[in-house]
Symmetry: C2
Subunit: 342 residues, 2 copies
């Protein structure tokens, strides 16, 4: 069973506070848009598809109290909520994709009453959740074609159920491969600074009984050199028109190592992660986060407290290092501009 990362329940958004995992599985329910903003900012909710869902549901709670009588006035309230939610994290395009889709759903129904539009927006958000579930299953099936029995697979950060409404992107491929009876061995990068690999991915994989081994980020090359890795599977936060993919910091590092060691490197992401408005990865804004994320671990200082820090949350893997991109519509190969699905 997938984890219930983010759902709509009794008129509130119910989500797992992922900062407490793997030690504590705590659900939070809220109808407060500020609480939700903080949850996205603090990475209580994280992962590109899950952030998109949070954005859509966030619009629903954001406009619920709108007293607007006219569409134009209502649209302004909606855009306020949407702009506010969009300011939480700049890199994941799924957030902006979901916010735009909510705005379009409102616009398409401008002749209806505000009460009716509010209802339509809730339905639209639930539809986004539904579509995410379906697309996770489809990506998993396409991706599992590439996984051989006995494969040793490396993954980075968390591209699992905790990043989506279902089984995840990269991890969905692993879950599906296991369901098909393939024996796999998965290595998980701990993924500093926020340790999503160590905290979340190991937890999800072990929960499904998959053979899981944790490594520090800097151990991947050593494993590859001794021929211990057959393939790499990661998620993405934004993919440019040419296939350049932004994902959690350290992904590009792995892609360079994969090329040197001739190991296939796959990105698993729904079409909503593509940003067709930007030609290449150079245009993707990279969020830089607070240096204390690096200076501390679980609140403990691990370095001089006044040391300078460089803390980009993402890096961009150029398309030439990506063997294929696995989407819900099929597997894309280079040149990615062609969008020809296998």
């Amino acid at each position: 069973m997938p984890v219930e990362t983010i759902t709509w329940k009794n008129g509130k958004i119910r989500f797992i506070d992922q900062t407490l995992l793997p030690h504590k599985l705590k659900y939070v329910s809220t109808d407060d848009i500020h609480r939700l903003w903080r949850a996205i900012k603090r990475l209580e909710i994280r992962g590109a598809p899950a952030i998109g869902i949070a954005g859509a549901l966030g619009v629903v709670i954001g406009i619920r109290t709108s007293k607007a009588k006219t569409f134009d006035r209502f649209l302004k309230d909606l855009q306020n909520a949407s702009g506010y939610l969009g300011s939480s994290r700049p890199t994941a395009v799924n957030l902006f994709w979901a916010l735009k889709r909510m705005e379009r759903a409102a616009g398409d129904n401008r002749s209806k009453s505000v009460a009716e539009i509010k209802h339509i927006l809730l339905k639209e958000a639930l539809k986004i959740i539904d579509e995410d579930m379906t697309s996770c299953r489809r990506m998993a099936r396409f991706g599992s074609r590439l996984v051989k029995h006995g494969s040793r697979i490396l993954t980075h950060c968390n591209a699992g159920g905790l990043a989506t409404a279902d089984y995840g992107t990269a991890l969905g491929v692993l879950f599906e491969s296991k369901r098909q009876g393939k024996t796999i061995k998965v290595y998980v990068d701990e993924t500093r600074p926020l340790l999503q690999g160590a905290r979340l991915t190991t937890w999800e994989l072990m929960r499904e009984g998959i053979d899981t081994t944790l490594i520090c980020d800097n151990m991947a090359a050593s494993l590859m050199a001794k021929d211990g890795i057959d393939m790499i599977l990661v998620g993405a936060d934004r993919i440019a028109y040419n296939g350049d993919a932004a994902n959690k910091i350290g992904t590009y590092n792995l892609a360079v190592l994969a090329k040197y060691h001739k190991i296939p490197f796959y990105v698993v992401a729904p079409i909503s992660t593509f940003d067709f408005n930007i030609k290449s990865g150079k245009e993707i804004p990279i969020e830089e986060r607070n240096g204390d994320e690096v200076r501390t671990v679980s609140g403990k200082l691990i370095a001089p407290k006044n040391v300078k820090v460089y803390n980009p949350s993402f890096d961009v893997t150029p398309h030439e290092l990506i063997t294929a991109i696995i989407t819900e519509d099929g597997i894309l190969r280079k040149p990615y501009e062609n969008k020809r699905y296998e």
Copy 2:
């Protein structure tokens, strides 16, 4: 002033417990060989040259209480102490080099009395410290020729004063460059799992007023991609005849990234780090350490407590990825078998 990492004082070995840095600068004095063994095992004393010195001084305290009347009996006591010390950490060759040198010093004086030999062994250990100081200064001078004004330099783990009896190997080059008036900017990999970069290298560099920025190990590629690094300087724990170099886990990772980004990659190490008995890095034994080093940070659990872990302490960088090796006798270039110094 270099830190006093390990010295001989009032008949005891005095060393810094490096596991407590940067929060606490604590000196430990001991004449107990078991305490010293534990200090090496636990990385209170670490860094190849410093471990060599600890080994030599360890022999001195190990044979001090020997009641042997004959040389043969004394040699047995010495070999017991030496074998015990050698079992603390398998990878750094400087340890075995120092232990062998102490044994040879005893053998060369077998006709003398046991009391005299004990005195000679202390003198030999102090000579090793002295030579390490001299060789640090010489490496620093040779290495500084390669550092340009304005260079942005990346280093890994700790190859500083805390790893030697003086200013260090790779960091010695930085200290000397600064002394010569060159402006440099240094990026430091935090170096998981034991965070020697975050804890020790930042502390040493900031103590000398060098512009220091801490990054997570997986951020190096991102920095290189945006043309932020001019050169990489690391130490080594054992170098094979062909130039393959074992160093802290993550070093090989950097070397692959450096090649991809066309950044020069330098190893700084004294000749005692060369193991001429082994042809290539394949023969270097790699220490695997306890998985709890990865599962925890500063005693705090950061992953499921029963997750499997792969935790090699070192990796091997093949000679073809090393631009040059900086030693106390000069700069070596490929092919390293030639041992032609620049």
